[in-house]
Structure formats: C-alpha cells, structure tokens
Amino acid sequence: MGKLQIHDLSQSFTRDDGSELTVLDHLNIEVQDKEFVCILGSSGCGKTTLLRLIAGLDTARSGTILLDGEEMKGPSSKVGFVFQEYSLFPWRSVIDNVVFGLEMKGIGKDERYRIAERYLELVNLTQFRANYPAELSGGMRQRVAVARALALDPVLLLMDEPFGALDAQTRNMLQIELLEIWEKTKKTIIFITHSVDEAVFLSDRIIVLTPRPGCLCHIVPINLPRPRDRTSTEFAQVRRHVLDLINQKCSIQ
C-alpha cells in the first residue's frame, strides 16, 4: 500500500526582516497507491518544500500528511527519497551504499548483501558493485541512489528532480529505466520536475503548482498508453496543454 493524503498543508518561512514568506498555501493532494505522479512547477514554487514535508525532513506550519491513513512524523522507512544533488556516500562503495539502510535496520550481513545485490541488478549496475561513487558517471550515481532508496522496500518513493543535472540522452534513458522499475516494484512515486516533457512522459497525473504562494493550480491526468512516444502527435498535444496551463493559469496571478 502507498496511499498519500495531504490535507490543508501550509508552510511558510520567516524572512530575515521578520516578514512571513508563504511557500505552500492550504494545499490538498491525494495520491493513489501505485500511482506515478509528477509535480510540475517553475523554481521557487514550493515543489521541493512539499516533498521535504512529505519525507518528514521538515515540519509543516499546519495541515496533515497521511500515508495509508497514518500521520507522518519525521523520516520513515516507508518512504524512500532520491535527492536532486548527488547524495551517495563517497566513502562507501556502490554496494555498501545500497546496503546502508538495511544495515541501519539491523539486518544480518549475508541477508542485507543479498537484498542489495538484487536492487543493484534492478538498476543494471551489478558490475560496478565495488566501485566508489567518484568513479561513476552522474547517471550511474542516480541509479545507485534509486537502488539505495528501494532497498528498504518503501511504499512511497519521493524523487526530487533526480535527473535534473543529467544530459538529455542519459535523462531519457533513465526515465525509461525508472518506468520499468516502477512496473516491477509497484511503488507509489512522487516525482518532482520542471520539465514538461519529463512529466508527460512519466506520470499518470501531473500536479501543476503555481509559483508562490504555492497552491494547487491544476491536475492533468495523462491517459496515453505506455510506452509513450515523445514524437507522437498525442504526446505533443498533451504537452502543449500542460504548457498552456502553466503559462496562462499560473504565472498571471
């Protein structure tokens, strides 16, 4: 299970001069179990803030976040997180990075390496098991980060622009790979991006956030069958529709 309900969520920060900066304003979102949702918005619209609240890395001013009916307080092993920047531990080899969460959980040595190998296989990096992160390309590092987050078998996987720093080709490849992983593992995924193309290619639904104060602008269901063809007319139509939404509805406010 991995059903996420966000009720009336607000977050604000205090500026240096003492005034309040509202980042999220009474946000309501529901994400179904095994759904792939992209959150789309320009920078500064509160995407990352929202994801950090769901992850329990920050505490909201008000509102509730329920995962399978349980309120989230602080980081939980039911939630995996893939960071935007490179977050692999450089002092641990690839396999030892994947093992980390299982080690913290107190799982026996043989068992945890067996599990980790399986997830490393899932991201096709078995041959790099003994390498250190510094020896990997950016794309490989993010794949290891995905394997590391999945190794704890979370019900919900949060991804904060994980492919943002990669070149276009690697990015497309990793998107395909991510969809395959999603098919195999059936996690609920919330994926943040500012690329319309990426959002349309990946998700069941796109949630468009307005730039500040972040409130729900529009929900766009994507009913195109997978695998999706980026060059097809249907794809282009959906893409244009989403772009129009962003341009008209959101930024004029």
Partner: protein, 261 residues
Amino acid sequence: MANPLRKHKDRWFGALAIVLALALWECYAALVVKNSFLLPAPLDVTSAFLELLQKGILLQDFQVSMIHFAIGLGLALVVGIPVGIAIGWNRKINAFLDPLIELLRPIPPLAWIPFAIIWFGLTTISAGFVIFVGAVFPILINTYTGFRSVPRVFVEAGKMLGCTKNRDLIRYIAFPSALPSVVSGIRVATGVAWMCLVAAELFGVSNSGLGKNLWFYYNLHRMDCVVVYMILLGLIGLVIDMVFRYIIDRYFLKWQTGEVA
C-alpha cells in the same frame, strides 16, 4: 601525467642534489672552515654516528623520544577528536567551549614547559604533556571544521535510510565524511608534536631522548654528535609522515583516490 619512468628519473635527479650538497659541505668544511667545532664535515658526522650507535645511546634516545611522542600524540587524539566532534556537531557545546579554546590556543606549547615540570617533574609525562598541548589544537580544529562542513544532503539521506539517532549519524555519516579533514589535522599535529618533542626535551623536561642529548652534546662541544641528532630528528620525522600517509591512503581514504585519478 603519471608516467612512472619520468617519476623514476625525477627521483634520481633529486637524489643528485643531496649528493652534491653533501660533497659541497665536505669540501667547504675540510678545505675552507677547517674547524670541526664550527662546521663538522660529513665524514666526522658519520664517525660520530657510528660511535654513538656502538655505545647504544642512540637506540635508547630513540625509544625514549618515541614514548614521549606517543604519549603526547595519543593524548591529543583522545582529547582532540571527541571535543572536536562535540563542538562540530552541537551548536550549544560549541558556543560554550569556543571562547575557552580560542583563549588557550594561542599560548605557545613551549610556554607550558614551566608548569609541565612543576606538575609532572622531570618525567616522560611532562614531555608528553608539552607535546600534547602542541598537537591537540590542530586535531581539534580540523575535526571541528570537518564536522561543520558535512554536506546536509548526506545527513538527510542518512535520515531517510533509517539513521536517525545522533550517535549513529555521527558514526556512520558525519565522521566518515569529516575524515579527510580530521586526517589532515592529525598530520599537521604530528609535525607540531615533533617540534615540541625536541623543545620539551631540550629544556630539560626529561632525562634522555633525542632532543635532550642533542643539547647534552652541545654542552660537551661535540658538534659532530649534534649534527647526528639533527639529521636523525629530520629523518625520523620524515619516516613518521610517510608511514602515516601510507596507512591513511591505503586503508582510510581509499575512496578519495578516484576523484584525483
């Protein structure tokens, strides 16, 4: 870039400089100065070395000095690393201890010699204490800096993977991340410790040791022996640094090599 043949050649070229310097020194001492008190020649020094070695003095001095060194550096590690971790990890402890540390730090270690003698007498402990004072601050400050600059994303990634207790975060995330900084602090500390060692022994904080006998032979006007001790101090310092670097690169910071190569 890393051409082994070239590196080999460079090394021979460097060795040539040492040979030339020795030859020049020998000629200048034997032909110009002609006074082994003012400038003992390399040959005088060699025979003095053999003489001291035969008497067994050198070995004993070496042992005593290494004990001083080990006490001082060991104590500095035991105190410096935990305190560095505490002030690097916890803002409150930092606010509490920082002014005290900053007040004590600028006092030169050798200024502690009178109290070292009064508190511990002419023992190995008091020499160790002076070395400790010199070595503890580089270790402490570098540990602190290392912990301060742990990237936030590592801590958060750790938290998301179930590493949430302070103790675990320090052990599994912050310490390994800070290790390069801690290690460079220890390396600076070994250098400072070596300098303090000579000074501490020189000022009579101990009864034997390399620094102590360097001074003793100066009083006997045996300058050839003084040079023996000078060279030995330099060489041992070099070896300590080499061994330290080898162990660290080989066992602790293996993961960093990938970033350079």
